[in-house]
Symmetry: C2
Subunit: 423 residues, 2 copies
């Protein structure tokens, strides 16, 4: 078969050799791939009732066996589960150019090469579906693309990384350190041997880039997402915050700010009323806000093999009901870097007269006003713990930089964002 | 136009007089209808980018103006917002037989005439969409139909009536009676002047019939759903239950029991860990359980005008991207009436020796075992409050009937179901 590389051959897959059969070529043979193959067998009857076609795995490509060109030629749709950039990117592009729909759960690929992938899907008139790439089977992609097509979305908040949510839940529950909770997460299979991408926020950033693209119809890629992880979180911050009624999550945010966007990932404290506050353990959840709908929240288990495989199969079934929804034309939107936030601020200070007044003065000079405040310990152990009202981040950080240089402040200030209903 | 009544003229709407325009005929001119018309105007550009067609309201039928036949002839799709059975049913059937897609938010119609409506949609090759009929903009219909097409669903739990959820939330928050909370709900517009359908559970039952049909692909209608309302709930039950760590909701359940189904609505206590426990005020939420996905939860505002209109517009946009997903063939499943549940049991008893032993004996004789237990008050005010382990409802009610007849029991026992992780 040679048409698979021809950009001038969009349109439909070749005529099916077996009428009534829908042939699925699978790239990658891992946990998700095996779970997917099992689900296809288990649900073939039901899917035939829904779509009129019987799904069949027509070929599987692994590192050691199978030939991509042959699998492509013998498939009506390609499921990409290789992960990473290459060869996944080339295979996905080749498949779409050959007129095949593609279903993938590859967040790296989508968050870094989204523009190219969506452009080729549009030119080739095929569907590119990726529910499994964000929040496992929690149907956030479908909801943003379809249910909310008639809503102007203002903001998306998400807990989109199960590893960090598990670690923070364990730290809060047991009062243990980040390192202790990480070991526990690894023991239970919630964290990988190299947890860097998860705990540094990069995995969540990739998912937020994908969600921002869907929510705002704007081209957003991973390199435009500012992210921080959770390594620096200490048990005493979590303890003090609990006294203030706050719980900590790693939160991804994508929001409109005027005619621009902000997309970011950072640890944030939530007040108990927030719909994401009760999402514990390895769960994922996403909240979508819009004036017309106020707010909807979706939650469920994060990406495990069976969950991702179920999301992939849901996409396959949707793609079996042709034709494609053409991707929406993209509108460029500038990215904002300085946004408004409330902050939790933890200071270790010398317990001497006038310290509080000094600090309050610096905060006021930068327009930072204090919402709640606690003093803990005394003499060598004195700590000031406070939550501010919402303020531009640049102002807050200018204030803390100045505070860090004050003589009675004995350690670098620790600041964590707080999400509440104020703004 | 005469083809609108012809059952032998399925297929496509007439050729569009204006290429690039998608004509929407609206039946009904109420809050939702006005909000819908505004949303169409506001989002016409965006929808044109998504679908390639520009949506336009081509006609509106109200009690006093407009002609159904003319509106049908001049529309590519009919939005039915009249509510109730007739004339909504005839218009929807006529529209589908004339080859028009139909979007409706009419839960009465779908829960009572679902078999007929889905059969005609299938024969006519048109889409019948109804996201707005259940849980407003919370995308439970789409998720059950599409995202979870590859999952075998075991159970759906829902808070699908915002009025009763608001009333129960207020009773819990303020310790007030049902009647007081109802007045407050009416004042705030969360309850209608005649709240019967809501507070007696019939509205929730209609929605659960619709969800059961989607989740299990079985024909379920309102008359097969057992329902109870919340009029009988007292503040002291809620107070005692809170001491046991329980919160009360009006819960709809649709679940597989072997090869049969149970669909029911009743007040139920939830332990704090349950994903529906934190859903307060007029919000709706639905949890879907399946082995492969474990559990996903969706929540958001219940049906208000703007929310329902947004759901309706999401359906319209999906229908503009042809063609229809043919409705899944239905599989008949028997309905189970006797199911397993835990119970909260409240007894007013004479405070005399041997009473507890007597009651415990009756419970044990019927196979009811007690999980937690409190004695409150003494002498004339003595109350026994307990939560049982899960047991067949028929056994529990046999036990309470016998207990009611015991001499030291001074009032009819009060029982409320408890939902937990036990079963």
């Amino acid at each position: 078969m040679s048409d698979s590389h021809s950009p001038t051959a969009p349109g439909r897959p070749p005529a099916r050799p077996l009428p009534g059969i829908f042939r699925i070529g699978v790239l990658g043979r891992g946990t998700v791939g095996s779970a997917f193959a099992e689900l296809v067998l288990e649900h073939a009857d039901r899917i035939e009732r829904i779509t009129g076609l019987r799904p069949e795995i027509s070929g599987v490509l692994s590192r050691s066996s199978g030939n991509f060109e042959e699998i492509l030629a013998g498939s009506d749709l390609i499921v990409e589960l290789i992960g990473g950039i290459e060869p996944a990117r080339s295979h996905v592009l080749d498949a779409m150019r050959a007129g095949r729909h593609v279903v993938t759960a590859n967040k790296q690929l989508l968050s870094q090469f989204g523009d190219e992938l969506f452009a080729v899907a549009g030119e080739s008139g095929v569907q590119l579906r990726f529910e499994g790439a964000v929040a496992g089977v929690v149907p956030v992609v479908r909801v943003l693309q379809e249910s909310l097509a008639g809503a102007r979305i203002e903001r998306v908040h998400g807990i989109v990384n199960g590893t960090t949510n598990f670690i923070l839940s364990e730290m809060a529950r047991l009062g243990i350190t980040f390192e202790q909770a990480l070991v526990e997460a690894q023991r239970l299979g919630y964290a990988e041997a190299d947890p860097t991408d998860d705990v540094d926020g990069r995995d969540a950033a990739a998912k937020m880039a994908i969600l921002a693209r869907l929510a705002f119809g704007a081209p957003v890629s991973l390199d435009q997402v500012r992210y921080e992880g959770i390594r620096q979180i200490t048990p005493d911050d979590m303890e003090y915050a609990r006294e203030l009624g706050l719980g900590l999550k790693l939160i991804g945010t994508a929001e409109r700010i005027g005619e621009a966007l902000s997309v970011r990932v950072h640890p944030a404290f939530l007040y108990p009323g927030h719909p994401l506050a009760s999402v514990g353990g390895p769960f994922n959840a996403v909240t979508v806000e819009s004036e017309a709908i106020t707010e909807i929240t979706m939650s469920g288990p994060g990406a495990g093999g069976p969950q991702t495989a179920t999301a992939v199969l849901g996409d396959v079934v949707s793609a079996m009901i042709p034709p494609a929804s053409p991707p929406e034309a993209m509108v460029e939107m500038p990215i904002v870097s300085d946004v408004i936030s409330s902050f939790y601020l933890h200071l270790e200070v010398a317990d001497e007269p006038g310290v509080l007044a000094l600090i309050a003065q610096v905060l006021a000079a930068h327009g930072v006003s204090v919402r709640s405040f606690m003093q803990k310990g005394f003499s060598e152990q004195a700590r000031l713990v406070m939550v501010t009202h919402a303020v531009l981040e640049s102002r807050f950080f200018a204030a803390t930089q100045e505070i860090a240089a004050l003589e009675p402040v004995r350690r670098p200030p620790r600041a964590i964002r707080v999400i509440d209903e104020e703004f």
